[in-house]
């Protein structure tokens, strides 16, 4: 922006000739332009800050609802299954591998002036599953193609598109099955047959966990924006 202002200031004397005060007028216009652009950047930062605050409040409200629903369902499940079947005494307090993982990427390692960590959640080992699936040497072209009745002159592109859609739907179905199995396994500590309320409580608390990670990111944005505004 300074280069543009400088080049504009350099071009003006050619057009105006040796008019006294013309260069000073151009330079002051450039300074006012730069100040205007700085104020625009500040306004953008303030808007970003207020968006973060709004997002934080909305997420917090959603978290309150999710937790409230989860506690209600848990109490209902405890009532129907009995307090001995829904109790923390059933938990295994030994260290065990978590199926849902939290990761933090701190951008301060890349740019020390900007510390804005990013929190991500990997639920039910889905990232590990997708990584193991990606390691398979099977590619789209090598997958067995579905047979289609009717005309023998099917265009290849159509087949590939159908295969990719089918593969995607199979992947989504696999993921969904995996998540359902993981959820059932987590609830198996309460016994073989559990109340449906316990399952809905599990989903509520799972949602709450996602909201918590969203809140952590929102907090990180608020702190980063507020430090920018203070500067």
């Amino acid at each position: 922006m300074a280069a543009v202002a400088a080049s504009a200031a350099a071009e003006e004397p050619r057009l105006l000739g040796s008019v006294p005060g013309a260069e000073d007028a151009v330079e002051s216009d450039g300074a006012v332009g730069e100040e205007g652009r700085a104020r625009g950047d500040d306004d953008e930062e303030i808007l970003r800050f207020m968006d973060s605050v709004d997002g934080y409040l909305v997420l917090m409200d959603s978290l309150s609802s999710a937790l409230r629903q989860g506690w209600l369902d848990l109490a209902s499940a405890r009532h129907s299954m009995g307090p001995s079947r829904v109790s923390s005494t059933l938990f295994n307090h030994k260290e065990q591998t978590a199926s849902t993982k939290l990761q933090v990427v701190d951008h301060a390692e890349v740019e020390p002036s900007e510390s804005k960590p990013l929190f991500t959640l990997s639920k039910w080992r889905l990232q590990e599953e997708s990584a193991s699936n990606n390691d398979d040497p099977v590619q789209t072209g090598n997958k067995p193609k579905l047979r289609h009745r009717g005309s023998a002159t099917n265009p290849e592109d159509g087949n590939l598109a159908r295969d990719s859609i089918t593969a995607e739907s199979l992947t989504c179905a696999d993921t969904s099955n995996h998540v359902q199995r993981a959820r059932s396994k987590a609830l198996s500590v309460f016994g073989g047959l559990v109340s449906p309320k316990l399952r809905t409580a599990q989903i509520s608390f799972e949602t709450a966990l996602e909201l918590i990670v969203g809140l952590a990111n929102s907090r990180s944005n608020i702190l980063a924006s507020s430090s920018q505004i203070k500067q």
Binding site: T89, A108, V213, L215, R219, I222, L223
Partner: protein
């Protein structure tokens, strides 16, 4: 739990929780937690490198408000959450208190102009 050694995390991080109704979870023979114990747990969790998020019940956070409000590091993130008996109050949230302070300082600066 506070006082526990770091758990091997393999590039993932932990979520710590400081909440009330601990006696409800572990039976009725747990002694009442003192404010000093809550402070010590908070200081421990915020200094550990394997913890990324600390969830603290807002009711408990109010007992150590000076510590929570004075904390300003990006990691671990301190989040005040509601509990069963104490709903969330945005007026006491430490993050929103900073927002209010920022706007109040901005308004003071505007008045001075």
């Amino acid at each position: 739990m506070a006082g526990r050694a770091n758990i091997p995390t393999n590039s993932s991080a932990l979520i710590a929780i400081i909440a009330d109704e601990v006696a409800d979870c572990y039976g009725s023979n747990v002694d009442e937690t003192t404010v000093k114990q809550i402070e010590d747990a908070f200081k421990e969790f915020t200094s550990r490198e394997d913890i990324a998020i600390v969830l603290i019940s807002q009711y408990v956070a109010n007992m150590i408000r000076f510590l929570v409000d004075g904390y300003n590091k990006p990691v671990p993130a301190i989040l005040e959450i509601p509990s069963k008996d104490h709903p969330y109050d945005p007026a006491h949230d430490s993050v929103l208190s900073r927002v209010k302070y920022l706007f109040s300082s901005e308004s003071v600066a505007t008045d001075r102009r």
